[in-house]
């Protein structure tokens, strides 16, 4: 039985949401339509709509002189592997923290949260020397293992979720003889879909857009990720605006797709994730 809603209130809600949405979407819309303009057109008529659809910027990016495809491949491999790894290790650890009671648990949890507290760029100079010693520079693995160290967020969020699952559920299963792995995979994970989706979406965005680590850890242009590559269009001679915005639009499209795919989990959650009595 759904609640009857006051139409005036609903209208107000729409107004608020629309204003916020437009102000947020406007820059993105600008970025997209500006990538169909020539560089000069972007400069002279910054905010007006393009008079015709100029495809040269995109052609430049993917032509023989452009490296966009390589960069996209690098970004996809690194980000996908890192995110899968992060979900795996974070959910495992979150379950461990939520389920087991042991001495020093809270202290250990606090230790695992240190990673949230420091801005990532603070670690990069020391990190470079360390990854260099390990001979993992200029390779996918150097970046992936670094990102796998960013599990603090996932652990925090998922532990919080697992703790909210009523203990009776898991205890009943354990009474029936289920071991922890089975409780984890058959009860906890399915219930946690919306939280896991959040962890996937956010980690994907953060890793995809990170430019500092790929910049410092790679020494070849063909190992660049998209986030580093899009910085190529600036030089002292000036910014190639049209090409830059085209590159940024493509860079933004991928995590957006990931988001759209995973956010369906939220709708799923509405339909089956709730515990019914």
């Amino acid at each position: 039985m759904t609640r009857h809603r006051n139409p005036a209130f609903v209208a107000l809600v729409y107004v608020v949401m629309t204003i916020v949405a437009l102000s947020i979407a406007a820059p993105v819309i600008w970025m997209i339509y500006s990538s169909f303009k020539t560089n000069n057109a972007v400069l002279s008529n910054t905010f007006s709509l393009p008079t015709s659809l100029y495809l040269g910027n995109f052609a430049d990016l993917f032509s023989s002189g452009g490296n966009m495809l390589t960069w996209l491949t690098n970004s996809v491999v690194i980000t996908v592997l890192s995110v899968i790894g992060l979900v795996v290790v974070s959910s495992l650890a979150a379950y461990g923290f939520a389920t087991f009671d042991f001495r020093g648990r809270e202290l250990f949890f606090l230790f695992m949260l240190l990673g949230l507290m420091i801005p990532s760029q603070a670690l990069i100079i020391a990190g470079f020397q360390w990854i260099s010693i390990l001979h993992l520079l200029n390779a996918y693995s150097g970046l992936i293992v670094t990102y796998l160290g960013w599990s603090s967020f996932g652990i925090l969020v998922l532990r919080n979720f697992f703790q909210s699952v009523p203990k009776e559920l898991t205890e009943a299963a354990r009474l029936d003889g289920a071991n922890h792995w089975q409780v984890f995979t058959r009860i906890m994970l399915p219930l946690a879909r919306p939280s896991i989706s959040t962890v996937v979406i956010l980690n994907f965005m953060w890793i995809w857009n990170d430019f500092l680590y790929p910049l410092i850890y790679t020494s070849d242009e063909d190992k660049y990720t998209v986030a580093v590559g899009v910085l190529q269009f600036q030089s002292r001679a000036g910014v190639q605006w049209g090409t830059q915005l085209a590159a940024l639009s493509i860079a933004a499209a991928v995590p957006l797709v990931v988001f759209l795919v995973f956010q369906r989990q939220f709708i799923r959650g509405l339909m089956e994730g709730a515990i019914k009595s």
Binding site: P190, I216, F233, A237
Partner: protein, 429 residues
């Protein structure tokens, strides 16, 4: 989703991830990697430099298919952190482009650069301004040469919108008084006369350096830099600061001068709304590829009547080539340098709008706008390198830049500005 499938999926994902990671481990660089390529790092991402280096690399690769050049271009904002970190590691590139002066000294002090004195002595007659103080200071440390200039920057440039000037019946200013008069005229018509975006601190500082070199002269400024007598708050320096403050106070800069960055500044000028803009010769390099939508001209910084050294200019070796000590393929690097500074290549670079340091290149093939800039630059009596390149970062990029932005908003007086710079210079000595 059926339970069994769910469990399998999780297991497969975990296994797959771990396997892939294991497989990719060990794909890092090993010592052998770089010897099959000649690795070059530079800021030449696009524009004249980008086109030039692409051509040179192409020529090299055709002649040396066994040792191709692997070029890593890095945007100029990120170049220094990436370069410094890269050189601090165990696998630096074989050859680098370097912005010289203080950088050269810092890298040499850390034993990161190879002594190139013999190469320079043998080849320097091919270069313009080879013995000028500004050029020598770029690459010489303790009497030895550690880099080779390949491109010059002249700061002695004001770009103007010829169409806009014509529209308002104004001539190209021949001296500073006329420049001020025209600025006032534009302002009275509701047009911002000068485009400037000082968010990053250096565009405004370049105005200051241009005033300082006319008021004090290149050798006095060097005396201040070297702590050999002149002080940053001597009267000529205060006068230069006053010159800049006057422009700001008259409202000749755009309303966004404090928050607009270099890109916004050039965008404003290229949009055709503002008649004048001061920035270096590198900007002209970008115009060859992408001309402005209006008729664009260049002029030297107008001479200030009564300035003691009005023929002195600001200019420097902008791009140099240097060799990391731990790089490989040393002999080939020198061969590559020979190619890069050959007349053929230099002419090509000049054609793209690059002020090549190689003699004759700009004269041969440089577009008119570049030839004019170089002619203005070459006739100077004294040349001062950009001061921010010459002084330690604490003085230049930190205090000078910030003080200039304060001067532009009127938050400090010219005297306070100069005093603060002198105080910092003494502190970092």
């Amino acid at each position: 989703m059926p339970i069994a499938q769910h469990r399998v999926r999780a297991a497969v994902a975990a296994a797959g991830a771990l396997t892939l990671i294991a497989a990719l481990t060990g794909c890092g660089t090993s010592a052998g990697d770089t010897s099959s390529n000649l690795t070059l790092w530079s800021e030449w991402t696009n524009g004249a430099g980008g086109a030039g280096i692409a051509h040179t690399i192409d020529s090299w690769n055709k002649a040396n298919p066994d040792l191709k050049v692997k070029h890593r271009p890095i945007g100029n904002e990120q170049y220094f952190p990436a370069l410094r970190t890269g050189l601090s590691g165990t696998n630096p590139p074989d050859v680098i482009m370097l912005e010289p002066y203080q950088n050269t000294r810092d890298f040499v002090k850390a034993n990161k650069l190879v002594d190139m004195t013999s190469w320079w002595t043998a080849h320097k007659s091919n270069f313009i301004q080879a013995d000028a103080q500004s050029t020598v200071r770029a690459c010489t440390v303790n009497g030895k040469v550690y880099c080779v200039p390949v491109g010059f920057n002249s700061h002695d440039v004001i770009y103007y919108n010829a169409d806009l000037l014509a529209k308002y019946n104004m001539q190209v200013p021949t001296d500073y008084d006329q420049f001020l008069a025209e600025a006032a005229a534009f302002k009275s018509k509701g047009i911002t006369p000068i485009s400037l975006g000082d968010k990053d601190g250096w565009p405004g500082s370049h105005w200051y350096f241009n005033f300082v070199v006319q008021r004090c002269g290149a050798s006095t400024v060097y005396s201040a830099i070297e702590y050999t007598g002149a002080k940053w708050n001597d009267p000529c320096f205060v006068q230069a600061a006053t010159d800049l403050a006057k422009l700001a106070k008259a409202g000749y800069f755009p309303p966004g001068v404090a928050s607009d960055d270099y890109d916004a500044m050039t965008a404003l000028f290229l949009s055709g709304k503002v008649p004048f803009m001061q920035t270096g010769s590198w900007f002209a390099g970008g115009l060859v590829d992408q001309p402005a939508s209006f008729k664009l001209g260049t002029m030297a910084i107008p001479k200030i009547t009564g300035a003691a050294h009005s023929s002195d200019v600001v200019g420097e070796a902008g791009d140099t080539i240097a060799i990391p000590t731990k790089g490989h393929n040393r002999a080939q690097v020198y061969k590559f340098l020979n190619l890069l500074t050959s007349q053929t290549e230099a002419n090509f670079w000049a054609k793209q709008g690059y002020i090549s340091a190689v003699k004759g290149a700009v004269a041969n093939d440089g577009p008119p706008i570049i030839q004019k800039i170089l002619a203005d630059f070459d006739s100077a009596t004294g040349v001062l390198a950009g001061v921010d390149l010459e002084v330690p970062p604490k003085l230049g990029e930190d205090v000078m830049y910030n003080q200039v932005s304060q001067l532009l908003t009127g938050s400090v007086t010219p005297q306070q500005f100069s005093d603060k710079i002198q105080a910092t210079a003494e502190a970092v000595k």
